[in-house]
């Protein structure tokens, strides 16, 4: 009983509860058909939200005003870069991945440069960076769909014991992110800056270096996500990252990370990603039209964020 209470006190538990309820609703509608398949499919798709979500979580935790809106464009460009470098050739996969990483890192670094050197608010800096990145992507990829090497595409769809390998790796990534956040100088610095920038500076925290690393980290994770998405969906295109604008922020906030900064929640990102994917699955099984589906998704996200924001205001 005590353990249950302690579990309920964790802010991330609600995103998992939500995911579970949505799944139950979907399974009830299908009278028990395809429940397991829904979870496996949800795991596969949630991976991509988790990867960008973790990057976005670090950025949002830096404090009010910090957000990376260039992630969708970043994903699009990195997917094209990775596919072009790999050029359908399995022996080039590692180099292609490195190229995607480098591309993402460069975008993150450029974002921070705009914010720091030109003193532009992050929301505007990253949004305008997104337009530039997208234009580069359009002229670079020429709007063509570029195929991944067959080995890489197979890997992205690989399952062990029925569980997607990418999902396992994303769990490891989440665990690593949790350790980085709470047990490293960098993570503590992020949390300190998010709570009180001035106090952090006066306590000797290296504010600029930490902020730079955070935007670079978010960019890098966006880059990996782009390469993996292109492999999973067997092709890169300019729009591949579009849905991750709202999703990357929604998984952070629904997962219990404070929008005011200074308080991050890694397990919640996973729970929220599963919730969002299962929500779509549920609406699909109900057979509602695309328009209604989008309206409902938006309303539910607003509702969950309002509910999740309630108890925090009490503090």
């Amino acid at each position: 009983m005590v353990q249950v209470k302690a579990l309920l006190a964790k802010p991330w538990i609600w995103s998992f509860v939500g995911a579970f309820l949505v799944w139950i609703a979907a399974v009830a509608f299908t009278r028990g058909h395809g429940g397991g398949g829904m979870i496996i499919a949800a795991l596969s798709l949630a991976v991509f939200m988790v990867i960008v979500g973790i990057g976005q979580m670090f950025v949002i935790t830096l404090g009010p005003g910090n957000v990376d809106l260039s992630l969708p464009a970043n994903i699009g460009l990195a997917s094209a870069v990775a596919m072009k470098v790999m050029d359908g050739n399995d022996s080039m996969v590692a180099i292609g991945l490195l190229a995607a990483l480098a591309c993402g890192f460069a975008i993150g670094a450029a974002n921070y440069l705009l914010i720091w050197a030109l003193r532009i608010p992050p929301i505007i800096a990253t949004l305008s960076a997104a337009f530039i990145i997208q234009s580069i992507d359009i002229s670079y990829g020429r709007g063509l769909q570029i195929k991944p090497p067959p080995g890489f595409a197979d890997f992205a769809n690989l399952r062990y014991f029925g569980i997607p390998v990418l999902a396992m790796l994303a769990v490891l990534l989440a665990i690593a992110a949790g350790i980085v956040l709470n047990r490293t100088v960098y993570g503590r610095s992020v949390l300190a800056i998010g709570q009180n920038l001035r106090a952090a500076r006066l306590a000797g925290v290296k504010v600029q270096r930490t902020s730079f690393l955070t935007y670079a980290l978010a960019g890098t994770l966006g880059g990996i996500d782009g390469a993996l998405l292109a492999a999973y969906f067997r092709g890169a295109n300019v729009d591949i990252g579009n849905e991750y604008l709202l999703a990357s922020i929604a998984v952070v906030v629904i997962g219990g990370t404070s929008v005011a900064g200074g308080k991050a929640n890694v397990p919640g990102v996973w729970g929220a990603a599963l919730f969002l994917v299962l929500l779509l699955t549920m609406l699909n099984t109900f057979g509602v039209s695309v328009g209604i589906r989008l309206v409902l998704t938006g309303l539910i996200i607003v509702g969950v964020i309002t509910a999740a924001g309630g108890p925090k205001a009490e503090r």
């Binding site: 047990r183 300190a192 709570q195 001035r198 952090a200 006066l202 000797g204």
Partner: protein, 489 residues
């Protein structure tokens, strides 16, 4: 005394308040009469703030009764207290930093509405500021966040005395002078005497016992949630007050007991204020305690921050040869990380030393916290509790622990004793002298002239410049005050 014959304006009987297992108030009786200033003293955590929160309706008493003007109050609340003319200036300032002084005034006066409300609010606050703090230099259109903490405190106090619809009978002043320099504090206390003389009442809470002894008609001493003494101010002196409050035995800092025994070593800091016109500069050596004095907001904090920045990189006119750490005085905006535990708040300045491999060692973090909890006596059952579970004074101790527990050789202190009780202060003074003898350098900005007695050398500031450089032997309160006004000492 005349006041003895007057009827009580406020009467509290057997008021109790428990927070879980903590008995914050354990059966308190309190009587405030019209036309008197009552001093309320006690250590941090004695229950003063809780009692005042009940008096102003913020907290509901667990048991006991409240009567005002002889009538028992059944459903007492903040709005009821305001209707009855009871107001409070809280220690943790309550102004909105993003609004102007006039707009902040409007918050307390809903009747200022319709076109031109801003102008009328400005006139209201400006008139009261002029009355209490002549020559204050604050404009009603100034944004509060841009004001120094001392000036914010002046606005907060003046606002509590403005009147529109609701009457004004009793003002609770909780540490009203903690961020004010001696001159401004004097202005406020003079005003309080005039206010009380006009038949109103005032409760003065202060850790500066001289201030209470000199201005209160009666003094109430609290300890562990109880009133342990209540009598005419004349019946107390400093020593008897300290004895009644309990705790620290030594009441006065023994004069000349500064760190002379320790070695005075090489120069650690050389700094010139940016606005300095002559060749005066601040010099601090290892083992020295250097005081920064003068009226509040005359460039002392700016110089400390410049020295802090200079330690991280080059800056012209500055020489800083060792790592620095800063003890913030404005806890909320400069010091505390509100989401974190006490241990994490202490550890943040030292995380790089707590690494084992790539990761912060939880064991070392706990050890650092435990060491300083014991050394500086932080009152908490568990250092993993949230920092906000501590009283203000204990939060301040945690900030001292953060700086003193670090590898810094130079400790900058930005008026760090705001709202800290005398027992804690004496403990910290001892600690500072001990650390100075071990070779640390302290730069200590303070608004309390008494604290300068701990220093080897005092620099007096005026208008962003150093105007006097006094050694320990030359230091007198008179000289400090003279120089503070820009006169040549």
């Amino acid at each position: 005394m005349m006041a003895e014959t007057r009827a009580a304006f406020v009467k509290l009987d057997g008021v109790e308040k428990h927070f879980g297992a903590v008995r914050a108030l354990d059966g308190v009786d309190l009587e405030i009469r019209a036309g008197e200033c009552v001093g309320l003293v006690g250590h941090n955590g004695a229950g003063k703030s809780t009692l005042m929160n009940i008096l102003t309706g913020t907290l509901e008493p667990g048991s006991g009764t409240i009567s005002i003007n002889g009538a028992a109050e059944g459903r007492y609340s903040v709005s009821r207290a305001l209707k009855l003319g009871i107001r409070c200036v809280f220690q943790e300032l309550s102004l909105c930093p993003n609004l102007s002084v006039a707009e902040n005034t409007r918050i307390n006066h809903p009747s200022l509405r319709g076109p031109g409300w801003r102008r009328r609010a400005a006139a209201l606050i400006a008139q009261k500021m002029d009355e209490i703090f002549p020559g204050h230099g604050i404009d009603a259109s100034d944004i509060v966040g841009d004001l120094s903490i001392g000036r914010r405190q002046m606005v907060e106090v003046a606002r509590a005395f403005t009147v529109t619809d609701d009457p004004l009978n009793l003002v609770v002043l909780d540490e009203p002078t903690s961020s004010l320099d001696a001159h401004t504090a004097g202005q406020l206390l003079d005003f309080v005497r005039r206010f009380v003389g006009a038949g109103k009442s005032c409760i003065l809470i202060s850790h500066l016992l001289g201030e209470v002894l000199g201005n209160a008609d009666r003094i109430i001493v609290m300890r562990d949630g109880k009133v342990v003494a209540a009598n005419d101010a004349a019946a107390f002196d400093r020593d008897s007050l300290v004895a009644t409050m309990g705790g620290a035995a030594a009441a006065r800092i023994p004069a000349g007991s500064n760190g002379r025994k320790g070695e005075i070593g090489p120069v650690r800091v050389k700094a010139r204020p940016a606005r300095q016109t002559n060749d005066m500069e601040l010099v601090a050596r290892s083992g020295e305690i250097i005081g920064l004095a003068g009226l509040a907001g005359n460039g002392q904090t700016d110089l400390l921050l410049a020295i802090f920045d200079a330690a991280g990189g080059k800056r012209s006119g500055m020489e800083v040869t060792a790592p620095v750490a800063l003890v913030a005085g404005d806890r909320q905006s400069d010091g505390i990380f509100p989401q974190w535990s006490i241990a994490q708040n202490i550890g943040i300045r030292s995380i790089e030393r707590m690494l084992s491999g790539m990761l912060i060692s939880p064991r070392r973090e706990a050890e650092l916290a435990a060491h300083w909890q014991q050394k500086i006596k932080i009152r908490t059952p568990n250092m993993n509790n949230n920092i906000l579970s501590l009283s203000g004074g204990n939060q301040q101790k945690a900030l001292f622990a953060r700086a003193l527990g670090s590898d810094a050789k130079i400790i900058l202190m930005d008026d760090p004793m705001r709202g800290v009780d005398i027992g804690t202060k004496l403990d910290v003074y001892d600690l500072i002298r001990e650390e100075a003898q071990n070779g640390r350098t302290f730069l200590w900005y303070t608004t309390e002239t008494e604290e300068l007695e701990n220093c080897n050398r005092v620099y007096v500031f005026h208008s962003g410049r150093i105007v006097a450089n006094l050694s320990r032997d030359e230091l007198t309160e008179e000289k400090v005050i003279q120089s503070s006004f820009g006169e040549v000492a």
